[in-house]
Amino acid sequence: MPQFQLRNTVERLDKPSSYAMSKYKKRRRDSNSDPSTRQPSPDLEEKLKDASTLYIGNLSFYTTEEQIHALFSKAGELKRLVMGLDRFTKTPCGFCFVEYYTHEDALDCLKYIGGTKLDERIIRCDLDEGFSEGRQYGRGKSGGQVRDEYREEFDPGRGGFGKKFREGEGYGEEYGEGQ
């Protein structure tokens, strides 16, 4: 017999996003393929149920720590703020980690600040498993975030066109020139 369950009459904003969920799923598949080196990853919900760190995305490259502080301290006292940096230039590349002292403050941030504007850009907030060394660097080939590699739209706050787009490298370069 199916069991009826309904937590709330409307959806909640204080949950991990689909990105966080998909990260978990990919990892699960990988862990099967290499059991010797990979730690068993605990259930995603379990991991994030006490999370007090948030990933913040879609920042402009010029957004300062002060601005981030001014906005995010409205949801609670900030324990730590780590700016996301370009791997090579070590300059801000449009994301950061915000850590609160409590899980409750992190959830409040998701509910009340995620999806509003900072430095006139709508920012993305997502629950994060916690900062560890190395995670502050972009993972794109050019040193910034992956999303800035191939971006075709012009975004003045994030270096203009995507790196590859700017360099004239489109898709299908490997097929050589046409006639």
Partner: protein, 714 residues
């Protein structure tokens, strides 16, 4: 929109419809599915349980559908499938959830039950039992908001009780209230119980006005009068406007919700309980009571669920305070919101606030419900959405001029500016306003504009904390909308002294805007006359190091300290320079030589860490031994640490506040030292009180101390 934890598996629903055999497309990770490749199959019919859930959740939401028809349909589906446990649970659990989470739907949920009752009285028995059990639970734990809402649900079902219905419980609650009030003059729980009674009565009387019910209501109102009309000793604490004005000159009348409600109910009683605003989507049941066959069977009656009020009533999870009826628009020339003499003011406000405070986990839904509030009250309660304020004058005599947007803005501000505190963090209410402006800008923005003008006009009479809440809200709000505002309206204030509240408000608001953005950008958004308020010093990322200028006392030593710190020299080398400063200071008869030493040291730390908060924190961390040693040696020197920070960052007051906050965490300075610094050392004959930085330093320090105490107690 509903958050379903478990998906329905394949299989039958015990339904009578004949669609077994069609494939289901229910998969757990629908998100990873590319919907573009799999077109929706329109002929696919939803399982009954899903249909019921969707319809019930969305009841009354569309202005295009008739709510009573929706209720009829829901009742039909439920009655036809009542043997299915899943349907039973869906109907009962969702109904109760809606009562608790979306109170404006209570009359409509009740209508479903009333209609279902005519088809299968077991449904009513079941849901009354479940709701009764829930109410009992909340009575025992002190969940008074939930008790109020469940009693309201029962009130809307009053026509199907064979006995006295809700009245006995209300009498019991009154008895408890009297006991509490007589026991202590500080009691607020008794007031809360009386409020519940008064908020339940109108819903009973809207459902059925038999002789006996009218009598019982009159008796209750007689009894509650004394409690509701007596001022409470905590009233002054929750007054948003400083009480030094004559009643007529107050920007906003002072009336508690309780006092108002009592008067409004007495007015309604004298007018045959018209209660015009309450929707009645159950007329078919109550008046005619006929079913499809044209017969007129009397719907089954039921006993009221057995609920007992505990002998000792608990306070519940939060502290209770008297609540005033806060309104930016009420009782003015144009009636854009119900006047305080009209019961609609209390009933509508009550549901708006309850909805807002319960659904804080989805501000988008809240904004939507606020904008669409006209769906949930009697037709013609409001004027058409987004009617311009000026057009209200042209509305015919007997029609309503109440703008739903004004009621929405009023409700949000009543929480944002509630004393002592609202239920949620302030930024939540900011976000509700932001979302409302995003989804209905043309409707909400003009109402918001009038709200801002009202508050600004009376900013000198406001409670100080509310002044800062308004200021912080204003700046944060504008930062979501390109900092647009009609700044030209306030040009006259610029000529005033900085001590003038309106001028101080503007200065403070601009400072917060700059913190969320940067000086150059904010200057661009303002008329040129505002330029003096944003001096060029604010453009500098790194303020000048005062010891670079030889005319500064101890300039040479200050520069030496800086150099030593930069190259991470030993403590001995630094001490040598400190001794030089001490000697010099002693020569000049400086009372406490540690003070200038500290100034040189802390100023250097600030300069080295000027790039960002992280930089200054890492420098403070490196220097924390010496910094920690200062306080115990000399209190003036400890306060000098604060002075050095604030003076170095004089053009960026927010940065100074942040650094002082971090220094508190390190216990390099103490909360007392911050308070004394702000309110004694730097009071400047009171001028400091006009600067928002002063308030911020004191407020954040106090909040920090209170938080720590709370953590220890918890």
């Amino acid at each position: 929109m509903a958050d379903v934890d478990r998906y329905e598996p394949r299989g039958d629903r015990g339904h009578r419809g004949g669609y077994g055999g069609k494939k289901r497309r229910l998969r757990e990770d629908d998100d990873s599915y590319d919907r573009r490749d799999r077109p929706q199959r329109r002929r696919y019919e939803e399982p009954t349980g899903t249909r019921l859930r969707k319809q019930l959740l969305a009841i009354a939401e569309s202005p295009l559908r008739n709510a009573e028809d929706e209720a009829l349909n829901i009742a039909k589906i439920t009655a036809e499938n009542w043997d299915d446990q899943y349907i039973k649970d869906t109907f009962c659990e969702i109904s109760i959830l809606l009562v608790l989470e979306q109170p404006f739907k209570i009359p409509f949920v009740a209508a479903c039950v009333l209609h279902a009752n005519t088809q299968n009285s077991e449904i009513t028995t079941e849901i009354l039992a479940r709701a009764g059990a829930k109410a009992q639970g909340f009575l025992e734990t002190g969940g008074w908001k939930e008790v109020k809402l469940l009693l309201r649900f029962f009130a809307c079902l009053h026509s199907l009780f064979e006995d006295a219905g809700v009245f006995p419980i209300l009498d019991e609650l009154f008895n408890r209230a009297v006991d509490l009030q007589t026991a202590s003059s500080e009691d607020t729980l008794g007031l809360e119980l009386v409020k519940i009674i008064l908020f339940t009565i109108p819903y009973i009387m809207a459902t059925s006005t038999s002789e006996s019910e009218q009598q019982k209501a009159a008796q209750l109102l007689n009894k509650t009068d004394i409690v509701a009309s007596t001022p409470h000793m905590l009233d002054a604490l929750v007054d948003p406007y400083i009480n030094n004005e004559e009643e007529e000159n107050r920007p906003m009348g002072f009336q508690t919700i309780l006092t108002l409600l009592q008067k409004q109910l007495q007015t309604e009683a004298a007018n045959e309980w018209k209660l015009a605003c309450i929707p009645r989507p159950y007329s078919a049941v109550v008046t005619s009571g006929s079913d499809e066959n044209g017969d007129a069977p009397t719907p089954a009656k039921h006993p009221f669920p057995s609920i007992t009020v505990p002998t000792t009533v608990k306070l519940g999870p939060k502290a209770l305070f008297p609540e005033i009826y806060f309104s930016l628009y009420a009782d003015q020339d144009i009636e854009s919101v119900p006047p305080t003499s009209n019961i609609a003011a209390s009933l509508i406000r009550d549901t708006l606030v309850d909805t807002m405070n319960h659904l804080d986990f989805n501000r988008n839904a809240v904004a939507k419900f606020l904008i669409e509030m006209d769906c949930y009250w009697a037709p013609d309660t409001f004027v058409k959405r987004a009617t311009p304020f000026d057009k209200l004058r042209a509305v015919p005599e007997n029609k309503s001029t109440w703008k739903p947007e004004d009621l929405a803005v009023d409700a949000v501000f009543s929480q944002l500016l509630q004393l002592p505190t609202p239920e949620h963090k302030l930024v939540y209410y900011h976000s509700v306003i932001t979302e409302s402006c995003k989804i209905a800008p043309a409707a909400i923005a003009p109402s918001l504009g009038r709200a801002i003008r009202f508050l600004f006009r009376n900013v000198d009479a406001m409670d100080m904390e509310l002044f800062y809440r308004f200021m912080e809200w204003f700046a944060h709000h504008l930062s979501n909308f390109e900092f647009r505002w009609k700044w030209t309206e306030w040009l006259d204030e610029l000529d005033q002294s900085d001590l003038n509240p309106k001028k101080a408000f503007i200065i403070g608001a601009l400072d917060i805007e700059i913190r969320l953005s940067f000086a150059k950008r904010i200057r661009e958004t303002l008329p040129v006359q505002y330029a003096p308020l944003i001096p060029e010093g604010r453009d500098k990322d790194t303020p000048d190091f005062k010891y670079a200028d030889d005319s500064t006392p101890y300039a040479e030593e200050g520069r030496e300290i800086l150099a030593l710190l930069k190259k991470k020299a030993s403590e001995d080398e630094i001490q040598t320079v400190m001794d030089k400063i001490s000697a010099k200071a002693a020569e000049h008869n400086v009372q406490d030589v540690l003070v200038p030493c500290t100034d040189a040291y802390m100023t250097s730390v600030c300069y080295i860490g000027a790039k960002s908060i992280s930089h200054v924190l890492s420098c403070i961390d490196r220097c924390k031994e010496r910094l920690l040693a200062i306080g115990p040696q000399s209190e003036p020197a400890r306060r000098q640490i604060i002075s050095s920070v604030v003076d170095y960052w004089r053009d960026q007051p927010g940065v100074a506040v942040n650094i002082v906050d971090k220094l508190l965490n390190y216990t390099i300075i103490t909360p007392v030292s911050v308070i004394e610094w702000a309110l004694t050392d730097r009071l400047d004959r009171g001028r400091a009180l006009a600067r928002s930085q002063t308030y911020e330093l004191v407020a954040t320090t106090m909040a920090k101390v209170m938080n720590r105490v709370r953590q220890i107690v918890d």
